[in-house]
């Protein structure tokens, strides 16, 4: 199990699915599978931001605000500029925020937790100001984004997989095989050793946080399509679950260990878990308690497996 940390995770996912189907047999159909995947995808993309930054020993708590900002910029600019221009603009905004994070973390050596937390405050404020400027134009999620986030092809295959599969493949491949991916592990494992070996750590970190911002921007667009809304704090609720998904997936918050495959399974587990708790008709209070307890026990169990 130690060499294949994914196996216990997949087992947990299967167990959750079995429990869910046993409680509510009628749920097991294509429509439900499709909606689970659609809801897991934005979470999995945000978890990618966390996974990549956590591998270097960092974290990106600004993903929620970046994603919300990107969704909101897209939805307000779409009526005037068209869907392509507004989406590109939204992603540029996300990249710029990521760049600022990267400069703070890489060049000024600000702790990633503080840098990204501070940036989310800055973005939140800017967003509220921007909201007042564009209050007249109104928001509209264009049909193309709706198609991407909420619709399916061939009956039940979610269209958002069109974005997610290449993205996930690039991250999985990039982490294992590319020089950049290995630099991330090297920095997370021992930053001083990496620097002495000639790695320009600050450049890697700047690029990393730009990628993280871009991923959050993409997640924001898909989520806007999925929920057909765009408000200032749309994706904020996903920040802590995205960290939880990466942690459940076996990425160490101290850096140097982990991978994206686990985070994808982690995002699926959290999505199925949320459905399960809803199906059980638990009150909100019990749902939150169970959610926290399960995240903690999975993380603890995972720690045991890896340490043995």
């Amino acid at each position: 199990m130690r060499d294949r940390p994914l196996i216990p995770l997949l087992l947990l996912l299967v167990v959750l699915l079995i429990v869910l189907v046993a409680i509510r047999p009628s749920i097991a159909n294509e429509r439900w599978v499709s909606s689970t995947i659609r809801f897991a995808i934005p979470l999995a993309i945000l978890a990618a931001s966390q996974t990549l930054t956590m591998i270097t020993g960092g974290i990106d708590l600004s993903v929620g605000m970046v994603a919300s900002m990107s969704a909101y910029v897209m939805a307000t600019q779409a009526p005037a500029e068209g869907v392509i221009a507004s989406s590109l603009l939204a992603l540029v905004v996300a990249i710029v925020i990521g760049l600022v994070n990267g400069v703070g973390v890489g060049i000024f050596r600000v702790h990633p937790l503080i840098m990204t937390l501070g940036m989310s405050l800055v973005v939140l404020g800017l967003l509220t100001v921007y909201q007042r400027i564009v209050i007249g134009s109104g928001t509209r999620v264009p049909d193309e984004i709706l198609w991407l986030g909420a619709r399916t092809s061939f009956g039940w295959i979610p269209n958002s997989l069109l974005v997610f599969i290449p993205l996930a493949a690039a991250i999985l491949f990039g982490l294992r095989r590319s020089g950049f991916g290995r630099l991330l592990y090297a920095i997370g494992d021992n930053e001083i050793a990496a620097r002495l070996a000639g790695v320009r750590v600050w450049q890697v970190l700047v690029v990393l946080y730009v990628i993280s911002g871009l991923l959050a921007g993409i997640a924001g667009l898909i989520y806007a399509g999925l929920t057909q809304t765009a408000t200032g704090t749309l994706v904020e609720v996903y920040v802590l679950p995205s960290v939880a998904a990466a942690v459940i997936g076996g990425t160490s918050i101290y850096g140097g260990r982990g991978g994206y495959a686990g985070s994808i399974v982690g995002a699926l587990i959290l999505t199925v878990l949320t459905t399960l708790l809803t199906v059980l008709q638990m009150p909100e209070a019990a749902r939150q308690i169970l959610f926290g307890a399960i995240v903690l026990s999975v993380a603890a169990a995972y720690n045991r497996i890896i340490e043995e």
Partner: protein
């Protein structure tokens, strides 16, 4: 002198005792100077700024300052408590529910009970960190949900009540009109708890474990016990923060306020290192007042209140950047 007085801790060196004291506390002294400057600026912008405004400032700052004190202890001992806002919500609603319909005298037992509850919650958080060996940030992230859920279990919608004498405790001023009760209470509870702890073996262990866990262990510090004690104290301060919420609003609200962000921002601005082992409680509390006063000034200047969040975030980031630059420069020289 113990490491405990090494506030800010960036500029160490020899010199006379006084010079050393100033240098060791340079960060806090700088913050105090900044706070004084802000008061002068506020007075310049708004000549009518007087005792009643200071009182309002103190009332608004009280829960944040208590949260910052708790968070500072967690960070000093090398941890972090992401669940602090949820614990405040839980203790606040518990106090509000218990005090509703109860007599004025019985409220004292409610206060004691809620404070013990805070200690127990914190000790539970700490035990989980020790037992599961999962990083602090992950454990308290999970507990953030658990305690927030528990708060909803206690009270589903805002409600409850507060004893009148508790409300009087922070409402108004003592002796002079320039000393709001809220500030006096804050200083009394923080120092009554922190000074004995800091000067004890336990306080030294906090700093030891926070700066180097392994070295502390090898020097005979009981690391698990120290961690649990630190989280218990954080829980105690969170409970006081929760109580102060009930005291100032008269009800309990089961939804966590923005205290996690605010406490981390104030603690970092207050000179406590995120890596642990450095800083004190004075800096974070002064920082809370600075952040509050900046917000007041911006409002007085007629700046769009939405920009205040931008400016707060920018202050938080740039302060840490400046601190980092100073650290880099002093290492080079």
């Amino acid at each position: 002198m113990s490491a405990a007085t090494n506030v800010g801790g960036r500029l160490n060196g020899g010199g006379t005792t006084l010079a050393r004291l100033v240098r060791r506390n340079s960060w806090v002294l700088g913050l105090c100077g900044l706070l004084a400057l802000l008061f002068v600026i506020t007075k310049a912008i708004q000549p009518a700024y007087g005792p009643s405004q200071v009182e309002a400032l103190a009332l608004a700052a009280l829960p944040v300052a208590l949260a910052a004190a708790g968070q500072a202890i967690a960070l000093i001992s090398g941890g972090i408590d992401l669940s602090i806002g949820s614990v405040m919500a839980l203790t606040s609603v518990t106090a509000a529910v218990l005090m509703k319909g109860a007599s004025e005298e019985s409220a004292i037992f409610v206060v004691i009970g809620v404070l013990l509850m805070g200690l127990a919650i914190g000790a539970f958080n700490g035990s989980l960190v020790v037992l599961t060996r999962v990083p602090d940030i992950v454990v308290t992230l999970a507990m953030l949900y658990v305690w927030a859920g528990a708060a909803l279990l206690v009270l589903n919608t805002p409600g409850g009540a507060s004893a009148q004498w508790l409300r009087d405790l922070i409402d108004g001023t003592v002796l002079t009109e320039w000393a709001p009760k809220a500030i006096v209470l804050l200083l009394v509870v923080v120092f009554a708890i922190w000074i004995p702890v800091r000067n004890s073996r336990l306080g030294l262990s906090f700093y030891a474990v926070g700066s180097d866990r392994l070295a502390a262990f090898r020097s005979g510090v009981d690391v698990p016990r120290t961690k649990i004690a630190a989280y218990a104290l954080t829980g105690l301060f969170a409970a006081m923060g929760g109580l102060s919420l009930t005291m100032s609003t008269g009800i309990g609200t089961p939804v966590p306020g923005p205290y996690l962000l605010a406490s981390v921002a104030a603690v970092v601005l207050g000179g406590v290192s995120l890596a642990g082992g450095r800083g004190g409680l004075v800096g974070p509390i002064v920082a809370v007042f600075i952040l509050r006063l900046v917000r007041t000034d911006l409002t007085l200047l007629g700046i769009d209140p939405n920009y205040t969040t931008v400016i707060e975030g920018a202050i938080m980031v740039s302060v840490v950047m400046v601190g980092g630059l100073i650290a880099i420069r002093s290492r080079r020289s």
